[in-house]
Each structure stands twice: as C-alpha cells, then as structure tokens.
Symmetry: C2
Subunit: 408 residues, 2 copies
C-alpha cells in the first residue's frame, strides 16, 4: 500500500536450487536486489543507476548493498561450472526485493517453506553487511535486537496557551520530560530496573575476540566527527555497541518542533525511544520492565494526566554459535584468500532476517560480508571496491570447498 | 517582509485628538483594527467578515478583538457631541493595525512622540482583553511578562543511526531531556535557584481581591476540559495564573517529531521553554538565573556535547497602581452602568504594549475590557454581545464623567 492509497503487489521472492546430492552439505544464500532511493542531485558524483568505476571503486546504488555480494556468490557458483568441476556443495538461493522496506512477506514465506524448500538446508549465509575496517575481512556472528517504545501523556486533545494556562496545569511535556529523563543516566547506563539481568555474562574467550579486532579508535572517532565517546578503549566501545543494550531517545511527537518561538502548552505528547537488545534479552521481558518502570515514575508524580506506554516494534537479538562448522570453513577460506584471520564482529543494528532464519529453520546462520566500512550503504556515492568484489567471489568459492571438507 | 520575500509597508498608526482644554484631564485610548485570520471553512457559522447578529450576539472577526471596543469608545465620544454637550475630558486616540503581528513599529512611535503627541496625556486606557466571567465587569491592572528560552545541545550536525552508534555517545537528547527535566517539579514549582526571590510578596489587601472575584472553579475546569488543576481553590488558581511565575516546556526542534518510528539519534537538538514573569521579576535577572542553572546541570553530566542557552524574547511584566484616579473613576463608572463592583483582574498572558506605555510615557495605564470570557477572540465564531457593546459604550461615557470629577 503506497501513501497515496495505491496498492502494489509485493515483488516475488526468488527461490532457486542447484544440486541435491545427499552426500554434500546444502548452503542457502540470502541476498536482496532492492535498494535505497538515490537521485543524482542528492550529491552523487556519477549516475547512481549506472555502475561506474573510478580509481578501482565501483560506484552505483546497490553496489555493496546488496547486488555486489549477490553477484559475487553467483560468480563463485558459475566458476565451478565454467571449469566443468563438480560443485562441492548443494546451493540454494533466497533473493528478495523488499529488504529495504522491512522484508515484507519474507518471514511468512520462510515459515511456509520450512518443511519444503528449506527442509534440506544445512547452513544459511547472509552477505548483507560490512567489514569493520577497510582492509581486514570480518565474520559477523550477532546483531542487536530492538524494542521501540512510544509513551503518550495526555491532558486533553487541544493545546493550551501558556499565558492563559501556565501555572495551573500538570503539563504533559513536564511529565514526559521526567519520564524520558528517568530512562538513562549521563554515562549511558539504562536505569530501568532489571534491564541488565538477562545480558549474557562476558566470557574470557569473548573478551579476547574484542582485543583481536582491528580498530583504530582515534581514527574512527575522527571519521564520525564525535568529540569524545563515552568509553576510552576499543574493547569497551565494541562491547557497548554489540553486547550491551543501549537506549536512545528519538524525539517527541505533538509538541512544538519548528524553528522560532511558540507559546504553547501541548495538550498531548508522545515520546519515542528504543532499546537495542543483546543476548539473552527478550522483547517481552523488556516490554514488561519498561512499562513497570514508567508507570512507577509516573505514579510518583501524582499527575492528573493520562499516560500510556506501548512497544510498537519488538525484534529479538541474534547470536550464532561461532563454533559451528560454517564459521570454521569461512575462517579457513578467508585465510586462503586474504592471508589473515577475520575480525569476529557483531552488528549493533538489527537485521531481523538472521534471527528469523535461525528460529524458523533451526540451522546455523552466518553473515559473511564482502564490503568495507567506507562503502556508504544507504548513502550518496555508494560503492564496492573492485578488489573486494573479485576477492569476495574467490572467498565464496573457497568457502564452498572448505565447507565440503568439514561437513561429513 | 512576507515569507515569500515581498516587502510591504507597515500600515500607518492613527494618532488623533479631540480637545485640549488644560483644565480637563487628557485620556488616551489605545485600540487596534487588525484581526487574526478567519476563513468560513475553519468552522464559522456565519461569514466572518460580515457582522451578523444571532440571539443578541454580534458575530464577526474582530467583533470583540478589537473593533467592538474601538467603536464603543467612538460612540461614547460622539454621544457628547450629538447631545451638544462639552466633552468632560480631552481625548487622544492611538489606533494601530499591527497588533496581531506583535505591534511592529508601535514602540518606536511611542518613544518618538513621547514629548509631542503624548506629552499632554494623563491616562492611558486599553480595552483589548476580556472579563473573567460572562456577566461581571472587570478591570485589568496587570499582565505577566515572558522570557522565552532556547537551549541547544550539539554533538555534530548530522544525525546518527541508533543501531550503529547507540551505547557509545553522550546523546544530545539525553542531555536535553535532563536539562528540561531540571526546570520544574511535578507540582509546578520552578527549580531554578533564586527565581522566586523577586516575586512581590502577597499582601492581605491583594489576597482579599482574589476572594472577591467571581469564578466558579468547577465550571471553569469543565469548560476547559481539564481533569484536575494543580490547585484546588479559586484563590490559588488565580494567583498562579497572575501573580506567580510559571514555566512551560514547548517542545524540541531537531529531533524526530513525526508519527511512526525512526531509529535516529539526533545530532543536535534545541529545547524551547518559557517563563511567565510577574512583578517584580526582571527579564535580565531571569536570563542570568536560567543560564547559570542550566550550565550547572550540564556541567554535572560531564557530557562531551556542547550546550548553548539563549533568551530569544524578553518581555517585562506589567502592573498598575490600582489606587490611581482612573481606576477609581472606572470603578464608579462600572457601578453606575452595571450596578456592581468590577472583578479586579490580571492577565496571565503578556500584552507588551501596557508596559511600553507605562515605561515610556510614565503615566497610569489601565485596561478596561468590554467583552466576556466566552467571546472567542482569535477563535472561530468570535462575537461580542450586543448588550456588552451597548453597555460598554455607556461605560466609556460614564468613565469620562467620573474622570473629570476626580481629576483636579
């Protein structure tokens, strides 16, 4: 359904397979062909819809997100056929066209095909995110979830004039600001009781993974134009992006949000905030904790307004077992192609499809990114490096070979 | 200057005078002829620009704000002339056409004409607000001032993605919510140190005036659709609207303010709030107190963001000496015409012109409203009651007579 009321069919999701040898493992690749909008006048230096190479970089909308990786996978598969070699693994593809709009229809299809198309799948590979650096490959084994909340405080439908009513009302904005202010302290610590209870304890093994990651914190800080982060070390920064929850206040609906001055007391306002969830937090537990906390804070104010809290989006975090065979196979393939160990990384954002595959098909899910941190996905002048595209094609082929060796 | 860049001249301010007998007092009447916008499709039951009488009510844009009172004053003056009687007072008029746009150009004119046109003025009468009730006349002797603030918290120009950055930043919204939350408590008490220091102490005489005022609190509460006020008695409500400062948070610019969900960490946000000032608060003192307070709260957070506070509007409160002769004359005139004592009221809003006249011309200023609380100024179906319009014309005439008796 478009904003103008026109209804369009969802583009079909492509399911494909190649080989069904019961002695070989079956690897299912997920990718998407839809892209974010792009117009040359947004600041593109080349036509966003004509792939253009400049200095070894392939510029174009979707180059890295996600057409490049989809093509690299196809390259890897077709190389075996060109060489008239047997494919070492059975291949399945899931290619969708609604990822940038929230993968509408995908979860339904996965559930429906669970015991048909997906019944023979052993491993799922997603190649839809980026390395952490410009040169060192990465393997992604987790993403944060997200619980998005709205908290509404209502006095009456209409606004008030602050001259005529200021001083005698429990003003909804004062209530809302107090509610939002009760969520987090200035060190980034979430103040909702119990919120950290289900966060997985940090193991020594995991701690070492953060140490091994290639990240120049000072360079990163400068590149994102931030004066100072909340933490001083690489390890703390990565852990607070990946393995600890975070809470962000996004804004307020219904208040005065324009430039200039308006002497209004908003009659009803809605605060928006969200919590990024990490293993083993659960959206329904978090929903209950947030509601209880805000109800307690609100009750202490003895306000005459009405408050309503709701979770408008609840997406579980995802984490893989990095001891699964496909992670080992990918590490070996990376070593072969790039001559290095990968950064073992997570993504602070939410990529619901990983968790959906893992929960529904109950098989190992891995993210095997090809692009680099500066590829500019969703941004102007999106690109994939020619080098990453070619080495990435090799990586997928090497991965098939390693996978076949490990799977017995 | 219009939003489209077109520049229009300010409509002329009309200065007029009638009589200059040095033995008579000179009363200067201020009114305005410009109006708020009105379109029939906004919900008007009659053409807003054709005065239409329905059930004793004269409907039309400007009927009560402020054309009706201007005409009533002219009626009063012309009655003496029709009766071929001597006007008991010298009359001056100041009629402007920019009141609804902030009286652009008026202050400059008053200053310029201080020693010319205004040099002989003894009293200034403004008839540009309303009674507190539907039946009981009122005299207005004060208005609150207003200090409007913007507080900006900045990390960087661009916004952040809450997945990619949530957990490692001092988020501007968290800082801003804490700053705004430090301003006022849930009982409406302003928490800025020293803010109440200059508030005039309540005298026994003043307290009695609140008791005498005709206000059915329960009826008022229902009419404005508020579940409960912060205070339970008529006296407390009136005092918190008129003689105590209030602080209202208006909104936030730069954050996510639309319906729906957006996982953004705003890069810079601007909070807007204002304080209604009462005698003997002063905008420059308040500005200093607010800045000191917010700087202290911000420094305690140890945030890496930058904060900037500024007062974008500073309007002083106004209060008259109700023992001035013209207040006594007006009370007597009200007794003559309406057979009752007036409610002695203030206005919680800010009407800068009263203070400007008082400060510049240094003469007594009085507000003598004619319309009733339900006249709907600035709203759809604005009206003035036929009865108020006619009795109001009589009131002005009676006021001239009383004024002449008292002034010697």
């Amino acid at each position: 359904m478009l904003p103008n009321g026109q209804s369009l069919p969802i583009p079909p999701i492509i399911l494909a397979e190649l080989g069904n040898d019961p002695k070989k493992p079956t690897v299912c690749f997920y990718g998407h062909l839809d892209v974010q909008p792009a117009r040359q006048e947004d600041g593109w230096l080349t036509d966003p819809y004509t792939l253009t190479e400049v200095d070894g970089k392939l510029y174009g909308r979707g180059a890295t997100d996600n057409k490049g990786p989809v093509l690299a996978w196809i390259n890897a598969v077709s190389t075996f056929r060109s060489l008239e070699e047997d494919l070492p693994v059975n291949i399945k593809f899931v290619i969708e066209g609604m990822e940038e709009a929230g993968s509408v229809g995908l979860e339904e299809l996965v559930r429906k095909e669970k015991d048909q198309f997906f019944s023979s799948v052993d491993y799922i590979v997603i190649s839809d995110n980026l390395w952490l650096s410009q040169r060192k490959p990465a393997l992604t084994y987790g993403t944060r979830g997200n619980s998005y909340f709205r908290v509404e405080v209502r006095c009456r439908d209409q606004d008030f004039h602050s001259g005529t009513f200021g001083g005698i009302l429990s003003e909804p904005m004062a209530d809302l600001v107090a509610l939002l202010g009760s969520l987090i302290d200035s060190s980034g610590h979430i103040l909702i009781p119990g919120i950290y209870d289900q966060v997985a304890p940090l193991t020594e093994e995991e701690r070492k993974m953060y140490e091994a990651i290639d990240l120049d914190l000072e360079e990163y800080r400068k590149s994102v134009q931030v004066k100072r982060f909340l933490f001083d070390t690489k390890e703390e920064i990565l852990m607070h992006l990946w393995r600890y929850p975070s809470l962000s206040i996004h804004g307020i609906e219904g208040a005065f949000d324009e430039p200039g001055a308006k002497t209004v007391i908003p009659g009803q306002v809605i605060g928006k905030f969200s919590i990024r969830l990490v293993p083993h937090m659960n959206t329904s537990v978090v929903e209950k904790q947030v509601k209880q906390h805000l109800e307690y804070i609100f009750s202490k104010r003895n306000s005459s307004n009405q408050m309503a809290v709701s979770m408008t989006l609840g997406l579980q975090p995802w984490i893989a077992n990095i001891k699964d065979k496909q992670y080992l196979a990918a590490k070996r393939a990376i070593k072969t192609v790039f001559g290095t160990e990968p950064d073992m990384i997570r993504d602070g954002s939410t990529i619901p499809i990983a968790r959906i595959f893992q929960d529904t098909i109950q098989k190992s899910v891995m993210m095997l990114p090809l692009g680099t941190v500066d590829d500019g996905e969703h941004s102007q002048n999106e690109k994939i490096n020619r080098w990453n595209y070619i080495e990435g094609s090799k990586l997928f082929a090497a991965f098939f070979l390693e996978m076949a060796k490990l799977h017995y």
